[in-house]
C-alpha cells in the first residue's frame, strides 16, 4: 500500500520516474549518439524569461532591462497559468533581490565560534575542497546517511541529487513539518492524494469558499488571490473562520470570529449538521466514499449547540453556513489552508476538512478541487543511486509512519546525540531556508547545530542561519542563473524556463555548479554529466518537443491534457489510492497506526491571566524572513507591529506605536521591541504579528533590529504525533513596557 502511494506521488511530482520507464527504448539510442548539444545563450536584451523564486508559487514572467543594462522591472508572462501575466508584490519587487547591497558576495569560512558570524573570505576552490573533504571523512566514520539536506528552493534539487548520489536520502523541506505536512497526510489518507503546491483548489469557479484561518489576500499565493477575486466577481460566498478580522474576513458573507484553538469543534459540528439534515452530495458519497455510517454515528453528539459552548459561534450561524455550503455543493471548497501546524492535532483537523469536502462532493469537481496535470521531464541517464543503509526514520522507529515526506524538525532532533538512538546526524547542508526563523524552539536548533561536524549554508543573503555555518556558499539570485524546468501541477500541463538575465554578481555561483563541483570532488561526476545546466535543459526540452531556444523566446509552453479528466466525469468510476480504494471518511490507515480513524476534539491550553495567545501570519509584500531586507519590499513594510485589542491596550495603558518587549510563558524575552498597533481587528485574548521580522543579523542592514521575530517567542512546540508536524500556536505572551535588562544587545 505504501509503495503504491509513493509511486504515484513520485510521478505526480514529475520527477521523471515514469518517463525513464517509458523512454527505456530511447535510452540505448541516446546513449550511443551522445549529443549533449551546445546550447547557445541568446539573451534577448529587451526581456528574458524566468520564473520567480521568492515563494513556491513559481510564477513565470519576464525580466526587463534598461538601455544601460541595469534591471528595470519584472512582469508576468501572460501565458502562465500560475500568474496569468500578473506578478504579486514580491515578484514585482524581485528587482530588489538583485540590487540588494547586503547580498552574500563570496564564499566564507568560519573563523570564530558558530553563531558569532565571524568569517574570512575564501575562494571557491578552498570552500568546496573543504566541504568535500569533510563529507568524505564523515562518510567514512559515520556513513553518508549522517549528512542531511534541509532545503527550500529550486537549487535544492541539485544538492538533493548530490546527496542521493553520495548515499543519503535524508532530504527534508521545512515546508512539510513546519507548514503543510498535516494537510498532505490528512488528504492522502482520505483521498489518496495530497493537496499539492500550487493548491489544486478550483477557486475561480467555486460558489462557496470556506477558509479556516486562511488569510488569502494577506498571504499572497498569487493564483489563489487572483481566483478569489474572480470568485468575488461571480458572486461566490466566502465564509471565513478566524479569530482575527483578516482582509478576506472583511470580504466574506460570514465571518465567524472563533475562539482560537477551537476550529476542530466547529468543523465537526458542521459535519453533524450536514449529515443530520442530509445536506450531502448523496450520489457522490454513496459511490465514492467509505465509512459514511461510521462518520454519521461518530458526530451524533457534536451538535452546533455543543460547538457553541466551545467556539463561541452561535448555533444559528453554524447551521446557516452549513446550508450555504450545501447550496453551493459540489462547487464548494472547504479550503485546507497551507500553514496548518498549529496545535499538534492538525492532521486530524485537516482530516475533518477533507471529510467535509468529501461529503459535499467537491473533490474532483468543478468549483471544488480539480485534478492537476503535470509534466514528466526526462532525466538524463545516470548510474543508480546507492541504497542508504539508514534513513531518519530509523531514528524514530515507532513514529511518523504516515509522514509521506521527511520531517525536517525530527532530523534536527536527531542531530542531538541521545542514548535512545544509536546514530545521529553529523552534517547539515542548508539550502535557501533560514532555519533559525523556520524551526520553532530556537534553542533546540542551536543546540543541534553545535553537535554538527559540518554545517554548510547556501543562501543569497546573510540570513541568521549563515551565522551558524562552517562554510557559507553564496548563490546568485534566480535572476542570474538557469534552474530546472518548472513543471508545477496545474489545470494544464505546462513547462516554464528560468534563464539568467544577468551574469552572477560578485563571486556568486548557481546551486547547480556548486553541487556539481562538490560531486566531482567526491568522485560522483557521472551523476552530473552536463557541465553547464543549460545544455542539460536543452537536452530535456528537445525530448519534450521544444528546445532551449524556443523556451528562451516564449518562456512558458502549455500543453493540452492527455484526457478530459480535469474533473470527474459523471458516471465514471474512480479508484482512489487508499487502502479501501475509496475516499476514506473513516481512515483505515490511521486506525492501523493507532490514531483516531475519525477526528475527535480536544481542548488546548489557554493563555494564563495577563498573557495573550501569540498569533502570526503573513503580509502580502513579504515572504517569511527572506524579503524583509529587499530594498523595494522593505520600502513597503520595514517592520512588523503587534496588533492589540483596544480594551487590552487600555488595561495596559498602551499608546499607539508604543514600543514594548514581549515575554512568553517559558520566560523567553524578545531581543528587540515591537511597536503596538491598537486595532479592533484582533480579539482581546490574542495578539498578532506578521512573521519574518526581528532579524538579529547586523549584516542585514535594512532590517536588523526592526520588529520582533515570532519564531524566537515560539518555545512551546506542540508535536503532531501522526506526521511530526510542529504546532506553533500554543505560545502566550505578556507585555514588558520597560526595556528588560536581560535583553541581548
Amino acid at each position: 500500500m505504501g509503495s503504491r502511494r509513493q509511486f504515484l506521488k513520485t510521478s505526480a511530482l514529475g520527477l521523471g520516474g515514469l518517463s525513464i520507464g517509458l523512454s527505456a527504448f530511447k535510452y540505448v539510442s541516446d546513449f550511443s549518439s551522445l549529443e549533449k548539444g551546445k546550447a547557445e545563450l541568446k539573451i534577448n536584451l529587451s526581456r528574458t524569461p524566468t520564473y520567480c523564486e521568492i515563494c513556491f508559487w513559481k510564477c513565470a514572467g519576464w525580466v526587463y532591462k534598461r538601455e544601460d543594462g541595469s534591471i528595470w522591472k519584472i512582469t508576468g508572462n501572460d501565458e502562465d497559468q500560475h500568474s496569468n501575466g500578473r506578478f504579486c508584490p514580491r515578484g514585482t519587487g524581485g528587482v530588489g533581490t538583485y540590487n540588494d547591497s547586503d547580498r552574500l558576495k563570496t564564499p566564507l569560512i568560519r573563523t570564530g565560534e558558530r553563531g558569532e558570524h565571524k568569517f574570512r573570505e575564501a575562494s571557491w576552490e578552498e570552500a568546496l575542497d573543504l566541504i568535500a573533504e569533510k563529507m568524505k571523512s564523515i562518510a567514512s566514520v559515520h556513513g553518508p546517511e549522517s549528512v542531511a539536506l534541509l532545503n527550500h528552493g529550486s537549487g535544492g534539487k541539485y544538492f538533493g541529487d548530490l546527496l542521493k548520489a553520495y548515499g543519503s536520502t535524508n532530504i527534508a523541506a521545512p515546508s512539510y513539518a513546519q507548514c503543510r505536512g498535516p494537510r498532505e497526510v490528512a488528504f492522502i489518507n482520505t483521498f489518496g492524494e495530497a493537496v499539492e503546491s500550487p493548491e489544486r483548489t478550483d477557486i475561480r469557479d467555486t460558489r462557496c469558499l470556506v477558509l479556516i484561518g486562511s488569510h488569502i489576500g494577506e498571504n499572497m499565493h498569487n493564483g489563489q488571490v487572483q481566483e478569489m477575486s474572480d470568485a468575488i466577481d461571480k458572486g461566490a460566498t466566502i465564509i471565513t473562520v478566524d479569530p482575527r478580522f483578516s482582509v478576506v474576513a472583511s470580504k466574506s458573507k460570514f465571518w465567524l470570529p472563533i475562539k482560537p484553538a477551537t476550529d476542530l469543534a466547529l468543523l465537526l459540528s458542521w459535519i453533524n449538521v450536514l449529515v443530520t439534515e442530509n445536506w450531502i452530495d448523496k450520489d457522490y458519497v454513496e459511490k465514492n466514499t467509505y465509512g459514511y455510517d461510521l462518520l454519521k454515528d461518530h458526530v451524533k453528539s457534536m451538535t452546533p449547540e455543543w460547538a457553541y459552548g466551545i467556539t463561541g459561534i452561535h448555533p444559528d450561524i453554524i447551521r446557516k453556513t452549513a446550508k450555504e455550503m450545501y447550496n453551493a455543493s459540489p462547487a464548494v471548497i472547504v479550503h485546507p489552508g497551507r500553514h496548518v501546524t498549529w496545535y499538534g492535532d492538525d492532521t486530524q483537523r485537516l482530516r475533518t476538512v477533507a471529510i467535509l469536502n468529501a461529503i459535499l462532493g467537491s473533490w474532483g469537481r468543478r468549483g471544488g478541487f480539480y485534478n492537476p496535470a503535470t509534466f514528466a521531464v526526462p532525466t538524463y541517464p545516470h548510474p543508480p543511486f546507492p541504497t542508504p543503509k539508514t534513513t531518519w526514520r530509523d531514528a524514530f522507529p515507532d513514529q511518523f509512519h504516515l509522514a509521506d515526506e521527511s520531517v525536517s524538525s525530527k532530523i534536527c532532533d536527531a542531530t542531538i546525540p541521545s542514548e535512545v538512538r544509536n546514530f545521529s546526524f553529523k552534517a547539515w547542508i542548508v539550502y535557501g531556508t533560514n532555519l533559525i526563523m523556520t524551526f520553532p524552539d530556537q534553542s533546540k536548533t542551536i543546540e543541534a547545530i553545535k553537535h554538527l561536524d559540518l554545517m554548510v549554508v547556501i543562501d543569497t543573503m546573510p540570513m541568521e542561519i549563515t551565522s551558524w555555518a562552517d562554510v557559507v556558499l553564496p548563490e546568485c539570485t534566480y535572476l542570474e542563473r538557469y534552474d530546472s524546468i518548472r513543471t508545477g501541477p496545474h489545470r494544464k500541463p505546462a513547462i516554464a524556463l528560468r534563464m539568467p538575465a544577468f551574469e552572477p554578481k560578485n563571486n556568486t555561483k548557481p546551486a547547480y555548479w556548486m553541487a556539481r563541483e562538490i560531486g566531482v570532488r567526491l568522485g560522483l561526476a557521472q551523476f552530473f554529466p552536463f557541465e553547464k545546466l543549460e545544455d542539460y535543459l536543452d537536452w530535456q526540452l528537445k525530448k519534450l518537443g521544444s528546445s532551449l531556444e524556443e523556451m528562451q523566446r516564449i518562456g512558458v509552453k502549455t500543453f493540452e491534457r492527455e484526457a478530459d479528466d480535469l474533473y470527474f466525469q459523471p458516471g465514471e468510476h474512480h479508484e482512489f489510492s487508499t487502502p479501501t480504494g475509496k475516499i476514506e471518511l473513516y481512515s483505515t490507515a490511521f486506525l492501523d497506526e493507532g490514531f483516531d480513524p475519525l477526528p475527535v476534539y480536544t481542548a488546548h491550553p489557554e493563555p494564563p491571566s495577563g498573557f495573550y495567545r501569540l498569533n502570526y501570519g503573513r503580509a502580502p509584500m513579504h515572504t517569511f524572513s527572506r524579503t524583509s531586507n529587499n530594498p523595494n519590499l522593505n520600502d513597503l513594510m520595514d517592520e512588523n507591529t503587534l496588533w492589540v485589542n483596544p480594551k487590552v491596550a487600555k488595561e495596559w495603558g498602551l499608546k499607539k506605536a508604543q514600543e514594548i518587549w514581549l515575554k512568553n510563558q517559558d520566560g523567553k524575552i524578545s531581543n528587540f521591541p515591537i511597536k503596538v498597533r491598537i486595532t479592533e481587528r484582533i480579539r482581546w485574548d490574542s495578539v498578532y504579528m506578521v512573521h519574518g521580522f526581528g532579524h538579529a543579523t547586523k549584516q542585514l542592514s535594512r532590517t536588523y533590529g526592526k520588529g520582533i521575530s515570532d519564531t524566537e517567542m515560539i518555545t512551546n512546540v506542540m508535536l503532531d504525533p501522526i506526521m511530526g508536524g510542529t504546532g506553533m500556536r500554543g505560545n502566550f505572551v505578556t507585555f514588558l513596557t520597560e526595556k528588560p535588562e536581560e535583553v541581548a544587545s
Binding site: W72, T75, I682, R683
Partner: protein
Amino acid sequence: MRYAMAVDTRKCVGCSDCVVACQTENNVPIGYCRDWVVEVVDGTYPQLELEIRSERCNHCDNSPCVRCCPTGASHIEEGGFVIVTHEKCIGCGACIASCPYDARYPHPDGYVDKCTFCLHRVKKGQLPACVATCPTKCMYFGDLDDPSSPVSKVLKTRKFKTLIPEAGTKPELYFLI
C-alpha cells in the same frame, strides 16, 4: 477624451503590488512612492468593516495644482492627464502644498513628481503599470468618453465614491464600494 481610473475596494486586498510596480516601471527612487494603500477599519470587534484603497494622484478636472503652478510646468495633457514638465519645474513646492490628497512629492532630482497615469504606456495602448499588475484585477482604467472602456462600464454598474469631493477638485479616481 477623458481618462479615469476606478479601484474596486471589494476586491482590493491591500497587497501594494501597485506601489512596487509603479516604482519599478517609473524608476521612482526607494523611499518615495507615487501611490499608496490606505486601510480604514470601522466598528468594534466583532462588528467590523474594512475598506482598502489604492490611492494616487486623482488627475482632477479642477486641479488646484495646475492652477497654482507659477511656471506652467504642471499642466493638463489631452485626455485629462495632469503632468509635470520637468524642465519647467522650479521646485517651489506650491503644487505640493495645494494638493488636498498629498499626492505630489519633491523628487530628489529637484522637480516635483507624482503619478502620471503612466501616460507613456497609455500612448502605446498599454494600461498603467499598477492596473496591469494588480493580482486581483480590481483596477480599471480607460476613457470615460468611450462607453465600452472598462472604467465606463464599471462605473455604470457599480456604486462608487471619490475622496473628499467637498474639496471641489473633481477627482477622476473612483472607488467602487
